[in-house]
Amino acid sequence: MLEVRGVTHGAGAFRLEADLTLPRAGRVAVIGPSGAGKSTLLDLIAGFRAPDAGRILWDGSDLTDQPPGRRPVATLFQDNNLFPHLSVNENLALALRPRGGRLDADQRTARSEALERVSLPEMGARRPGDLSGGQQSRAALARVLLQRRPVMLLDEPFAALGPALKREMLDLVRDVGDTLDALVLVVTHDPRDAQGFAAQTVLVDEGRVHPPVATETLFSDPPPALRAYLGD
């Protein structure tokens, strides 16, 4: 399980406090107004920011001082999920061999399977710029699939896609998460995403990270902070 123990980061209006425990597998939505600290929370877990106090543990082992690449975490960013000057195949090769070198036969097979899995067979030779927005997201998901990390972080990854395409991509994320038996954290500002996707939801509000609550319960009886955010 993922434990965020007494973590604080930043000061003043940008201060974030987090203390929560998330299960070893499953899907969790992170919701809250912009500027509340959702992305900061993900950055702390991914290792792009260091906490001022507190520890972050995965299955009991301390991640706090690990660099991002050494953590059991794969991240799908809002953008720049692929290097634009490399083909999809080359991008995926870097995910498998981050220290360089050629892929072996097994790795090449895994790569084509991942591309098939996200419905992009035969697209490996193309560069990201030659793919549509939805196809780019799929290629990025293939990258996450190949990384085989037990925690997946998604920071509003499909915000640029239309509603139908977004739902399709979230289904694919669910699929990939189930395959890897991973803990999937998705930051969103759309309550419907949370309701359709995640069994549990974490509310982040004014720099406070609330403990996870069953999504159904949360939205049927929203606390004042969520009520204010939803505007009803």
């Binding site: 991914a46 290792g47 792009f48 660099p67 991002p68 690449g69 050494r70 975490v73 794969a74 991240t75 960013f77 720049n80 999920n81 692929l82 290097f83 000057h85 490399l86 080359e90 870097l94 995910a95 981050p98 220290r99 360089g100 990384q147």
Partner: protein, 503 residues
């Protein structure tokens, strides 16, 4: 992190090479008592010619830039591109071109004598200033043109809707822009002319047209008075540093500038008088810049047959120096391509190559013959002199690559080598090619520190051309100058193009 330690090493090397020679100079100078009376005159001349060159360049650039900003015509893009050419033009080539136009046998004097008027001499103070204007008028024009094109189109539309006349336009829109840009342009050109060496060496000299840099060279080369050279080097250092700091304080965001090849629609300039005036200014600028270059090319062709073994050997040495200093400059620039690194790199521009050369001369003299080290020292000083420009080109792109891709690279756990070879270098290709081209051309044409060290048998091509001029072998000098021009432009073109192909 490894990247940071490389940056610290690179910055440390810049500091060591910038300050070490200065320390040697200060230590060797042993006080300012050894200034001669001519040295104060050199100081006065240096300040005066820099101020005059900057004022003339900027003053002439204002109408030229305005004409280019508000007119569209065939060849405008080419002319604007040519305004960037003097930057990579070897000084000695430009000087030969100016002699062909303004020299005793030049076009202007032949026309004057045809009219029965007294002839002009290009040698002396006004020749130095003329050459400085030739080099810096394009720079000033580019800076001011950028200011003009940065005036938002909406404001010009509003001005047209209000039917503002030319004077109101000037007062409301153009004057505020000029008040910001003109001091910057003046300061930059003043600093450049302050460290003028090659122009003063070729066209100046004598008590009335000697710059401090030239005085350093004369003290070293002819009087062999190291103490006086060191004192002069300290004086030059103080000059360059204080003027450089003023220029830095005035400088805004004006860089190499993109998008100068568009003209903005102007409704206020649609009068016959304004059109004639603009055409005259553009014609003046084009003639002033192009005639010397055309003449260098035409005059050089016959001389190509006289290219002897010594010219070709010096060309080979120059190529080797240029390629080595390009490599060194890029190796230096890559770890320094950050905001803080750019400041470290500025040390190279604030401190004059002659001062560094003098310092290195003092440092190495006990251990090796200075002539043996002429080429390595030239290579080093050229790399350092080009470093600020390389950083200016590379830094914005390198920072945006880091901003866009660093997180993904970290999250994948890419090694430093894979990041460098697969991500940073391929994505930096275009600016790397441009920076390499600029460095190679600058180094190829440099006539500075080499003059301190070299003997004619081990010189670079620019120094060789200077030697041919000095021995009145003008045809051979013009042929060698054409070769130098072709090599400088060719190197720039090759590198710049290498960065663009398949990118």
């Amino acid at each position: 992190m490894a990247a940071r330690s490389f940056a610290v090493i690179a910055a440390g090397l810049v500091a060591l090479l910038a300050l070490g020679p200065v320390v040697a100079v200060v230590w060797r100078a042993g006080g300012f008592a050894s200034f001669g009376p001519g040295d104060m005159q050199a100081l006065r001349f240096t300040l005066w010619q820099a101020a005059a060159s900057a004022a003339l360049s900027v003053g002439l650039a204002i109408p030229v830039a305005r004409a280019l900003a508000r007119r569209r015509f065939v060849g405008r893009g080419l002319l604007v591109a040519l305004l960037g050419a003097p930057f990579i033009l070897p000084v000695i080539v430009a000087v030969l071109g100016l002699i062909a136009v303004f020299g005793s046998q030049g076009l202007v004097n032949r026309a004057l004598s045809g009219l029965g008027l007294p002839s002009l001499s290009i040698y002396g103070a006004h020749g130095v200033i003329l050459a400085h204007v030739f080099f810096n008028l394009p720079l000033a024009t580019r800076m001011i043109l950028q200011g003009w094109l940065a005036i938002p189109g909406e404001r010009l539309r509003l001005a047209a809707a209000l039917d503002l006349g030319p004077w109101t336009m000037l007062r409301v829109l153009e004057w505020p822009m000029l008040r910001r840009i003109v001091p910057q342009a003046f300061a930059v050109i003043f600093v450049i002319c302050l460290s003028s060496f090659a122009v003063a060496l070729t066209l100046g000299g004598g008590p009335r047209a000697t710059t401090v840099e030239l005085a350093i060279y004369q003290a070293m080369r002819f009087d062999f008075d190291l103490g006086r050279a060191a004192a002069l080097a300290c004086l030059q250092l103080a000059l360059a540093l204080s003027a450089g700091l003023v220029a830095l304080a005035l400088s805004g965001g004006t860089g190499f500038g993109a998008g100068l090849d568009r003209a903005i629609p102007r409704w206020d300039a649609d009068r016959a008088g304004a059109k004639v005036l603009d055409a005259a200014w553009i014609g003046f600028a084009a003639l002033f810049l192009l005639t010397p270059l055309v003449l260098v090319t035409l005059n050089g062709v016959p001389g190509l047959t006289q290219l002897g073994a010594s010219t070709l050997a010096s060309a080979g040495r120059s190529l080797a120096v240029a390629l080595a200093s390009t490599l060194l400059c890029l190796l230096w620039a890559l770890p320094l391509a950050t905001r803080r690194g750019e400041v470290a790199g500025l040390a190279g521009i604030a401190i004059s190559p002659l001062v560094i050369g003098t310092g290195l001369f003092i440092v190495v003299r006990p251990y090796a013959a200075p002539t043996d080290l002429a080429l390595p020292v030239t290579m080093l000083v050229n790399a350092m002199a080009a470093l600020p420009f390389a950083l200016r080109i590379l830094r914005p792109e390198a920072e945006s690559i880091r901003a866009e891709h660093r997180r993904l690279a970290q999250s994948l756990g890419l090694s430093g080598r894979v990041w460098l070879m697969r991500i940073l270098l391929p994505r930096l290709r275009r600016p790397l090619g441009f920076a390499a081209g600029l460095t190679a051309a600058l180094s190829m044409g440099d006539l500075g520190v080499i003059a301190l060290f070299a003997d004619p048998g081990h010189a670079t091509l620019p120094f060789h051309v200077y030697g041919l001029m000095g021995s009145y072998r003008m045809e051979a000098a013009q042929g060698a100058a054409l070769l130098l021009l072709a090599l400088s432009l060719g190197l720039f073109w090759l590198f710049d193009r290498g960065g663009r192909v398949n990118a």
